[in-house]
Symmetry: C2
Subunit: 181 residues, 2 copies
């Protein structure tokens, strides 16, 4: 199964966090797509931070795409030149004031592989504990929620936790025995 | 936690499958975001179709955003006026030739709630069986892969199945006892 060939590409949006490339595509099995939109969007990290008491450190914030409050793993865009691990540690500390000495990679996933370039890098932080106050940017209004791992499934079922890619990471960590749902 | 208020909105991309709205936002706790990009993107359905033999019906296709082949649940955009359930049945039949008489909703998730409007609706089809030939569009080149459910975790770990929102649905179905990983 072969890759598409880009015959023409025109960047119709060119902003810091979003580039939209309008492309004409030659398909490997014949035919063309006249107008395909490739979304060049930042990759991000998110952390499943577990306390010694079997709790998970989550964040509540208003999400404008979904037009609602969403409970998610602490997460953020990877800065230029930054490693995913360093970004995960930075975002956890900034958004929640929590830190950990026991970090390990969980999985790397695509968010919308059809037309988004974003990769989501998930890390696990065991023995997470509060070491500082939250230090978010003025535009961010984030409430920290430290919840027992056993309540996560009910929150997924109820739509409190609605970010699909974060749900994957939570369930995968449970599958690997890192937390008990 | 309150919703953002949109002070100005200008549509800078207006295509069938993608609208980009450049917005000036008033934050409920003070301050503004000068330039936020809200991506109005279609909602889609995907189906976890299980055969009586404990297999899952998956599709392999080249994904231009990820620039690679991705193994996914049969999925597609919901047509205007179409219900998610009807779209799920249509897409499963078109992409794989499989059908089922035992459909149930699994979960509805957001794909990127921060700035995408997309909702992903997952359905489960039990006792799925082949009733027709594949009938995809000329631009689609899709290979059907009917794989044992017990091989899915290894395919997720290996990155064969990389679509994060689909991974969530597979793991959630397993959590609910619909399949054994």
């Amino acid at each position: 199964m072969k890759a598409w060939r880009v015959l023409e590409s025109r960047t119709i949006v060119d902003r810091r966090w979003l580039k939209v490339h309008e492309q004409r595509i030659e398909l490997p099995h014949g035919g063309e797509i006249d107008e395909f939109h490739l979304l060049e969007t930042p990759s991000w990290v998110a952390t499943l931070a577990l306390t010694e008491a079997g709790e998970v450190v989550l964040v509540d914030q208003y999400r404008h795409g979904a037009a609602r409050v969403s409970r998610e793993l602490p997460a953020g865009v990877i800065d230029e030149g930054e490693s995913p691990e360093r970004a995960a540690k930075r975002e956890l500390l900034e958004e929640t004031g929590f830190a950990s000495d026991r970090w390990s990679p969980l999985i790397e996933l695509a968010t919308e592989p059809g037309r988004n370039t974003t990769r989501a890098h998930f890390w696990v932080a065991l023995g997470a504990h509060r070491v500082a106050a939250q230090s978010t940017e003025p535009s961010e209004h984030i409430a920290v929620a430290v919840v027992p791992a056993r309540s996560l499934l009910a929150e997924i079922d109820a739509g409190v936790i609605v970010h699909g890619v974060h749900v994957a990471a939570i369930l995968l960590a449970a599958q690997r025995g890192l937390l008990t749902l």
